[in-house]
Amino acid sequence: MFDQTLIRICLILGSFITAGYILRRVRLAKVQIEDTIFWLLFSAALLILAIFPGIAYWAANLLGFMSPINFVYVVIIFLLLAKQFFMSIKLSQLDSKVRILTEQVALNEEKVERDKLDL
């Protein structure tokens, strides 16, 4: 019984630290709001699992897990994997945007220099 309480306290702490940190970044205008939604929902999910352990017991029983905490792990791993996947796609898009922008800047620069040479 004791270790379950400890795990729940850890989950609640983790949830509050995540939410607190990300909201602080918003306050300082250091992050875009659309990028914070995932982390707020993530910390909400942790909080719900910690406050209502019945969900983990029910789901573990349903899916045939040995222990309810395994369900909590699976949820966290799944969410982080999904985030990793979408970040990978976003990173790839950003990469191509930087490439296009760099090309554009260089081409503009060349145009300016060519005009100067013509004079």
């Binding site: 909201l23 602080r24 918003v26 306050r27 300082l28 205008a29 250091k30 875009q32 709001i33 659309e34 914070t36 939604i37 707020l40 929902l41 945007k97 296009i100 922008l101 554009q104």
Partner: protein, 239 residues
């Protein structure tokens, strides 16, 4: 009369852009406009150049917030007194610019062209999102905004500068709720809107759901934690 800039963000609007700009230039030549091409994959930019429209051509796609911010930076740098957003799909009718401008000159910071100020908002599935956002803004600010998702918004000089320089100032209802909370005066003016003339709407069902989640979390939770800083210029450059 105040010097107004109409910002027309355009993403893949080759079918509509000519009609929209032509309507403005022939019937309302007293207003300046600028088309911001948001990295369109179709011929939007080429059509604008061929017709000699005033065009800002973004080399990559930034999304509506980035395209609109570009227009507002243009307005701020070129000394406009106020700016408004006008969709490139023909939904926003220019005959309502004048009443909106009058409302702005009464001393309001933001004027929203609202479809549902005197007209009852229909109880359809499409309007569920609008109801939720209206209710969220009412709950968190105490102000009634009848048509928060209307894209037809006009901003005064102070707002133009604030929008042009800061992070998290997208032209969306959550920014409006944040500004109301910080003392900006927002007024709505009744307008009618047409249907999109041609082409595809950006909002699919799945995107609408995403948009709603983002707006609800943002208005109900995140906006409480934001700090308004109009002193430090260009905070986004110090990320």
């Amino acid at each position: 009369m105040s010097k107004l800039l109409i910002v027309i963000p355009a993403h893949n609007e080759e079918a509509n852009i000519v009609q929209v700009v032509k309507e403005l230039t022939t019937n309302y030549p007293q207003y300046d406009y600028v088309v911001v091409n948001d990295g369109s994959r179709d011929k939007t930019a080429a059509i604008c150049r061929a017709h000699g429209y005033r065009l800002i051509d973004l080399p990559v796609n930034l999304g509506l917030a980035g395209a609109f911010q570009t227009g507002l930076r243009f307005a701020a740098e070129n000394g406009y007194d106020c700016a408004m957003q006008m969709d490139a799909d023909g939904q926003h009718r220019p005959e309502y610019i004048e009443p909106m401008l009058e409302a702005l000159e009464e001393g309001n910071d933001i004027v929203i062209g609202s479809r549902f100020l005197t007209v009852k908002k229909p109880k359809t599935l499409r309007m569920v999102g609008s109801y939720i956002i209206s209710w969220s803004i009412r709950l968190t600010t105490g102000h009634a905004i009848c048509d928060p998702t209307s894209g037809m918004r006009m901003f005064n000089r102070a707002m133009v500068e604030e929008f042009a320089q800061n992070l998290n100032y997208g032209p969306e209802p959550d920014t409006i709720s944040y500004l109301i909370k910080n003392g900006a005066s927002v007024k709505e003016v009744q307008v009618e809107m047409g249907e999109r003339m041609a082409g595809q709407s950006y909002l699919t069902f799945w995107r609408s759901v995403q948009y709603m989640v983002k707006m609800s979390v943002s208005i109900l939770l995140i906006q409480w934690f934001r700090k308004r800083d109009t002193e430090t210029p260009y905070p986004e450059r110090s990320l």
